[in-house]
């Protein structure tokens, strides 16, 4: 499912999400990840050292990306596989469509892949008359709903079980009306049955990759369901679609990253299946694909190297940043308007689709810093969001009122005596006016705040004046 980006309307999207009662019932599930991650981290004393190690591996690889790519493609070819390069989303789709057409493929099963979402592969396949079947349970559910994922590892986290039952009854036409589908177990059983036949019938399997290993020409996928594994095992052709920065040098480097991936994502020590694939079926193999292709996608990433957003290329798509983000918890993933939500999406989206379209997203942060504090590869997400805000301001893309307000604030802030005088006066005045109720239900120029909650009345002195009164000393 590709959707035209609506990231530019983040504010409207967020308002709608806040008012969507059904969504608000589903969203608290996204907070479950916090405790699970914390428990997994608490069981592993080496976790912080592993985060450093993961960061360093990614930095080293990015600094030598051209050479590791050369080594990787050499090893894929040695193992009998093929490597294709795609500069853009369209090129990637065209490569996959050509592979499908040349082989007369009618049905393609898919493992969960954010790159596939990024390039809009399902829409491209369907436009060419090829059935595309998402096999991850969450992806399958949102495919039936015609939606984009709202979370990078839990794509259907915004959907309730009642919604899923309704979707299954709408699409699975053989389903008896009296069959009980009220419980998650029954819904899973229904999906397992339907998808098992799709797995066995598919002509081509498309998966993403969590890592690509230069040392061996191996692609790694990580799943809990086993869906990606069946996708790449059963059809006669396996196509891997991955972006350039998924490369890591060695098996040892991959296991460093695996140790932080699942813990940061779901709070598991290890996902159920970590599958390493190297080339097609060997002469004495009784199963496995006869062809193995890798499509390496750039789509704007090579130009992020060496720049102020390079650190974003360390991202291993665990979702910890959104799992810990108060803004994500409040509005969910769809409000971000494109493929990648949450803090990582707020940084990556403007890089990939442009600051004019995605520049609103970096404003969707209080800079509380939780994302950076849990990021397994230590991406300084608040700093990167701030870089985008600066660019947005420099390019005059921020709303006029915001620019005007910042201008007024800057006028005072640059004049220390005037700033102190005016804030002192303002705080005293607000203290006097508000001392009766202790709060304001409405206030001129602060309607945006008081529309949703009261503003507490100030205590009468500014922080600076209290600081001075204590001679800058802290007890």
């Amino acid at each position: 499912m590709t959707v035209a980006p609506t990231s530019a309307q983040f504010k409207t999207n967020a308002h709608e999400a806040l008012g969507d009662a059904r969504l608000q019932r589903a969203l608290p599930h996204s907070r479950n990840f916090i405790g699970r991650r914390a428990a997994a981290v608490a069981r592993l004393p080496e976790f912080e050292a592993l985060r450093d190690s993961a960061r360093d591996i990614k930095n080293h690889t990015l600094a030598h990306l051209d050479l590791y790519l050369e080594a990787y493609e050499r090893k894929v070819r040695e193992a009998g596989g093929h490597v294709h390069y795609a500069l853009t989303a369209k090129q990637a789709n065209d490569i996959i469509l050509d592979l499908c057409r040349e082989r007369g493929a009618k049905s393609v099963t898919k493992g969960k892949s954010m790159i596939s979402e990024e390039i809009g592969l399902n829409a491209a396949l369907e436009a060419a008359g090829i059935e595309a079947v998402e096999t991850d349970l969450g992806e399958y559910i949102i495919q039936l709903r015609g939606e984009a994922p709202s979370h990078i590892i839990a794509p259907a986290i915004h959907v309730t079980k009642q919604d899923i039952e309704a979707d299954f009854r709408r699409v699975h036409l053989d389903l008896p009306r009296d069959r009980d589908l009220s419980q998650p177990e029954q819904l899973l059983g229904e999906a397992r049955g339907i998808l098992r036949s799709k797995f066995l019938a598919a002509d081509i399997g498309v998966t993403g990759a969590n890592f690509l290993i230069a040392e061996t020409g191996t692609s790694i996928i990580v799943t809990n369901e086993g869906n990606g594994d069946l996708t790449q095992l059963l059809p006669s052709v396996h196509i891997v679609i991955a972006s350039l920065e998924k490369i890591v040098p060695t098996l040892e480097d991959a296991s460093q990253l695996l140790r932080v991936l699942a813990r940061s994502a779901t709070g598991q020590d290890m996902s159920v299946y970590t599958t390493l694939s190297t080339g097609p079926r060997r002469p004495d193999d009784p199963d496995g694909p006869e062809e193995y292709h890798v499509v390496l996608l750039d789509n704007g990433r090579s130009s992020m190297l060496g720049g102020e957003f390079e650190e974003m290329l360390r991202c291993i798509r665990c979702g910890a940043c959104m799992n810990h983000c108060p803004v994500y918890h409040a509005v969910g993933g769809h409000a971000y308007g494109w493929v990648y939500p949450g803090p990582m999406g707020a940084v990556l989206t403007p890089s990939l689709i442009g600051v004019a379209e995605g520049g609103q997203l970096p404003n969707a942060s209080t800079f509380c810093g939780r994302c950076e504090s849990v990021c397994p590869v230590r991406i300084p997400l608040p700093k990167l969001m701030r870089h985008w805000r600066e660019r947005e301001f420099e390019r005059h893309l921020s709303p006029r009122l915001a620019r005007y307000g910042l201008g007024v604030w800057a006028f005072f802030a640059k004049r220390a005596a005037l700033y102190r005088l005016s804030t002192d006066l303002a705080m005293r005045a607000l203290h006097l006016i508000g001392r009766g109720k202790g709060r304001f239900a409405s206030l001129p120029l602060a309607g945006g705040w008081t529309k949703y909650r009261d503003l507490p009345a100030p205590q009468g002195a500014t922080f600076q004046s209290q600081w001075r009164a204590k001679s800058g000393k802290v007890k």
Partner: protein, 224 residues
């Protein structure tokens, strides 16, 4: 210019390199050759007995069941017990691994078939390439001995594992792979398996048996 050339040019422009710098090439060749290990959690370490204990505890934490037998020859009776006690039919599919095929199956009532799975087998058995104590993880290598389809398609997956093959960490599996397949080479598929298949995609409710096996039973062979 091809997409490949454009991408390499773009990467090299951004990194401000030509690709021919000797120190960069040496750094890459050296890392690929040496494969430095990084941070290894101490959890899986210790002697063989400790590794066995940690492996069992971690595998059970991931909802696998574990049984121990003394010798390979004792495995069929344990597997027959497992199938019986879980009310499963006495059928079992396996590949050509001698560790499995040479077991005394005739002492059980299990009906054995051989080869990869076509999706209609209820029970499959594999012999593990190795295992990792750190997270209770099995390592299975593809091939005629242990077809990969048996790891995913049957409802119930039984894995026979020699206790002596439990390594402390994933890195021990990488070393074994290099010994068996050669440096830089791999089996077509290597599966790390930690517990039975699951999904939490419906309202974050954890359910076992998503697309892969609903049950994972590990038979540890102590004296092998």
């Amino acid at each position: 210019m091809s997409a490949r050339e454009t991408i390499f040019e773009s990467i090299r422009r951004a990194l401000n390199v030509s690709g021919n710098e000797a120190p960069r090439r040496m750094a890459v060749d050296d890392r690929l050759a040496r494969a430095p290990k990084g941070v290894i959690p101490s959890r899986g370490g210790g002697d063989a007995a400790m590794r066995l204990d940690v492996f069992k505890a971690e595998a059970m934490r991931a909802q696998a069941s574990v049984a121990e037998v003394a010798r390979y020859d004792d495995a069929p009776a344990e597997i027959a017990r497992y199938l019986r006690e879980n009310n499963l039919p006495a059928t079992l599919r396996m590949g050509g691994d001698k560790r499995l095929t040479e077991m005394p199956w005739s002492g059980t009532l299990i009906e054995i078939s051989h080869g990869p799975s076509d999706g209609h087998d209820l029970n499959g058995v594999s012999a593990a390439f190795g295992a990792v104590a750190e997270t209770g993880t099995l390592a299975l290598a593809s091939g005629a001995d242990n077809p990969t389809t048996l790891n995913f398609l049957p409802d119930n997956h039984i894995v026979v594992l020699a206790a002596s093959e439990i390594g402390a960490d994933y890195e021990s599996v990488w070393s074994r792979l290099r010994e068996v397949y050669g440096k830089g080479a791999m089996p077509r598929t290597l599966n790390f398996i930690t517990g039975p298949s699951r999904s939490a995609d419906i309202e974050q409710t954890l359910l076992l048996g998503a697309h892969g096996p609903r049950r994972l039973h590990i038979v540890l062979v102590a004296e092998a």
